[in-house]
Point group: C2
Chain length 346, copies 2
């Protein structure tokens, strides 16, 4: 007997597409399954202005293979010099959907990020006024704060003060990894949503560090202890519309992962939907997958649900996914959950 | 003005020398600075019997370059099949100094280790009777126990019951990494000592995981959060004779470190004594270095202090250490503390 599940075509509310050859290599992996994606602006140099975002959107459109349908939702990279008027104009023109706050140094290509958060209050106030969401990488970067505490400390020291100062600002906590963040979102009354990645529903920190060090499981924010993974699973499968899918899929070549200081990121674009079907089935929550992957994100962003559909099929035999995708820069390993998966996209 | 410090020639109470070409490559790095070392028995296949240990000691002697003086203190690898009579005979003959308990699967080449600890009680009782120490890798391996909890859980579930059952057994907790272990040793009244590695005095888990994943800082037991590093520093520099140096220096080639499942171990044989001088100076405890590196270990093992001396010299300029040592299998990266070091061995 074949089990199948049909849901509205999903979206990815946090995605790294990069640029040039890498963009051309990874874009089809996302466009095959997803209608839209919030595209991260942390290129080198970053996407700082409406003009930058417009140019990047054109490059993405040019890289899309013929016959594929995909809409990139562009974002701006917030810096202490971001011009509120430029942001508002780009948003009004429909060029950008959101702006992204990176604490300086928090993750890949974040050195242009914000050090003094009060300096961006004028642009955040403008965003609140025009209803433009702020996406945030929620980690402090102080070297004296333990890596596993950085998300919880960010909520207390940075995010909560910003939200109290500008309560009308619509916030998306990206790639939450802790029970602290789940609880913070749950306790909010308005203007707070959170994305959860595929890999944070599957791995905890033992997967990175027990029995050998596994750079392909390393991302930022780093996976935490099991209690946090369980809290993320409970949130994702709860049906609560404040939690939705953002894969944070990030293509780093094996050479850049397996080096003395390896890059942060997991590449999950290729197999996210089958993995999510596996996870939601494990949690006896397949009826909640449409909400998490297809409905809650558009609702939070004030966008329509995609018109198309996706059918996921469960097979008796385990499904083979590519171990890696080839790129001009070298192979990019596809996230391996470490167990057989029986679902595929029809 | 040149500062210098002369101490009795130190020993390394926990060392991996491997075998064959690797043994020849790494042995001089230890023999240059250390009089003796407790040599780990986790070869493939492991050092199981007195005859194995005798043969391995001969291979080590054969690999020692002419003109170098070094005495390997041999150990046996405890399994559920270890013969108490063979252990006692090897100890009586002066072939072996201690026996090592690895929980099965805890670290490199530990698959032959112990699963049911009660099965080794007869050999541990024999060791208690003849005054032969047990060295122990103190981590449980249960997949449901968080990697950062495994040492503390081992103390509660495994080590404390063994010590209560066989109070006359002399135990060395190897490479302790937690305040829990420091406190457990401190609270003991007899028959418990602990080795501390060079690298655990220098790095915490942020060094492995913040701003990129750094396999060269990965070892087992893995470095913990800062509070634990500070507890280890306080113990090592306290003058308490129950804490002494065991580098756990382990040569893995860069190819084996920088792979999808990288090997556990830091190679510190080359620069341990300058690094320790740096650490003890930072703690204003240079007067305690002789105890930690040269006196406490022999006292615990009931052996004489080495006859020779070592002088450490502090330079105005930072000292250069080799980035790696060459081996037939490929380069082995030398532990990099991440800051300039001004001490060298005279």
């Amino acid at each position: 007997m074949t089990q199948s599940l049909t849901i509205p075509r999903p979206d990815d509310w946090h995605l790294h597409l990069r640029d040039g050859d890498m963009l051309r290599a990874v874009l089809p992996e996302t466009a095959r399954d997803f209608g839209r994606a919030i595209v991260m602006p942390n290129l080198v140099p970053p996407v700082l202005t409406g003009a930058d975002a417009q140019a990047y959107a054109t490059r993405i459109a040019d890289a899309l293979p013929a016959g594929m349908e995909f809409t990139p939702l562009m974002t701006l990279y917030l810096t202490e010099e971001t011009d509120p008027a430029d942001v508002a104009a780009a948003h009004a023109a429909g060029i950008v959907t959101a702006a992204k706050l990176y604490p300086a140094g928090a993750t890949t290509n974040s050195s242009s990020g914000v050090r003094d958060f009060t300096k961006i209050y004028p642009v955040l106030e403008k965003m609140a006024e025009i209803g433009m969401p702020m996406c945030v990488h929620g980690e402090v970067v102080d070297s004296d704060i333990d890596i596993f505490d950085r998300e919880a400390v960010f909520i207390d020291r940075v995010l909560d003060p910003i939200r109290k100062e500008i309560p009308d600002l619509k916030v998306v906590m990206e790639h939450i990894t802790t029970k602290n963040a789940v609880d913070y979102v749950k306790a909010s009354t308005r203007n707070l949503g959170a994305t959860i990645t595929t890999h944070h529903l599957i791995i905890n920190r033992n997967h990175i560090l027990a029995g050998g060090i596994k750079p392909h499981y390393y991302c930022l924010p780093v996976a935490k202890r099991e209690i946090h993974r369980l809290a993320l699973r409970a949130a994702a499968t709860s049906g609560d519309p404040r939690y939705f899918l953002g894969t944070d899929s990030a293509p780093h070549t094996d050479a850049n992962k397996l080096q003395p200081c390896g890059c942060a990121g997991c590449f999950t674009a290729t197999n996210t939907m089958p993995l999510l079907a596996h996870v939601f089935e494990e949690e006896d929550a397949l009826d909640k997958l449409a909400g998490f992957a297809s409905l809650h994100g558009p609702a939070y962003y004030g966008l329509p649900v995609n018109a198309g559909e996706m059918t996921l099929v469960k097979h008796d035999a385990a499904v083979d996914f590519p171990k890696a995708i080839d790129t001009v820069e070298g192979p990019v390993t596809v996230f391996d959950p470490g167990y057989p998966v029986h679902w595929s996209v029809a």
